[in-house]
Symmetry: C2
Subunit: 215 residues, 2 copies
């Protein structure tokens, strides 16, 4: 799961332990109650002083970034697994299902992607890795004739985010409603239904820039 770029100098034993506790406590709290749980409460849950929290993560956003990065990396890895599993009929659709399911279950992740955490370099790198994986899945789907050819990986990310965001309020009362809207997206992506789309498709760079500048 955790893909640290550089091991850097190892932390002192207690610091390392505190860091892990903070990440675990934050991941849990954010998933359950969204990103507006206070750092003070996360520190308390982790059993450390709140000063310690800000020593490890100089800003709350960096703490969020750490956790979002973990999730994105995990998703990219899962996407590559799907690509290697040759028995799957429609790996792209399976992947979109997982993307949405994770956003629906993890409120913090849903609030995190599309927030300014995407400006964080480590998060951007993980996001790019995810995009590249989706590009492979889209290409595969297009070769198999499952997916219209005027659709890109950026579109897939945008669409899954849309399904998750749109389903969000209804999910409290109908937890599986997102499947309905994923089904509609599936219908929209089939080659038979393709009619010309207006404007030029968004590029990878435009998405990255948009996410980073957003706010």
């Amino acid at each position: 799961m955790a893909a640290d770029m550089e091991a850097a100098r190892p932390l002192r034993a207690d610091a390392e332990r505190n860091r892990r506790r903070l990440i675990d406590a934050a991941a849990e709290a954010f998933a359950e109650r969204g990103l507006d749980v206070s750092v003070a409460e996360i520190a308390k849950r982790a059993g450390v002083g709140q000063g310690t929290a800000f020593r490890h993560f100089p800003t709350k956003e960096r703490l969020v970034a750490e956790i979002v990065r973990d999730r994105l990396t995990g998703l990219a890895a899962f996407g590559r697994e799907l690509l290697e599993d040759s028995r799957r009929e429609d790996p792209l659709l399976d992947f979109m299902r997982s993307l949405i399911e994770l956003q629906v279950q993890d409120r913090g992740l849903a609030e995190g992607v599309g927030s300014s955490v995407l400006a964080d370099p480590a998060v951007r790198e993980a996001h790019l890795e995810l995009l590249r994986t989706i590009e492979l899945l889209v290409a595969r789907g297009q070769e198999a004739g499952n997916v219209r050819t005027d659709i890109s990986a950026v579109d897939v990310i945008v669409l899954t985010k849309g399904v998750a965001a749109a389903s969000d309020p209804l999910c409290v009362v109908k937890p599986r409603i997102w499947r309905r809207y994923l089904d509609l997206v599936r219908d929209a992506l089939r080659p038979e239904s393709a009619r010309p789309l207006s404007g030029r498709p968004p590029t990878r760079a435009e998405l990255e820039r948009g996410l980073a500048e957003h706010h």
Copy 2:
């Protein structure tokens, strides 16, 4: 635009003036910078003390609610205009365009719908009015053969919210990108592309309940 249920007892002249100034200042500030502009700043922009702001709107949420209600009422009225204009080929699609465009232009509105302001009774009433208008538009579209028959007005609201939310980050760099995703939704809604959707469709009551309980 403003559809006050009961005129009640009229306010003192200065109070009425302050109320209007607060609403105008808030509408402008929320549209530009989203819902997290402080009440203090809105009061300052309106030229009143911040105590006055809380006298007119006992909570920040009520101030937001007032503005969201105005927008929803305006949208419902516009929808009915579309229904009466017999020259339009696809009034539902035209209406979805306006729904999305407004959410993209007005950050406060986008953040407001789907937040807990929908718990406010006056907002719920305006929202219900909007839903009923969309139901007429959907029925019209289905009669004309433009729209698949397993789609409801609730779906339309959910989908437009999804398009607006998904396009949001990209809009900074490509302001018209939402048209692309509306085009995809248009393709998904055409009867020819219809394949069975999983689960039962969400009802009006479920949407209302979801929006109100959300948070």
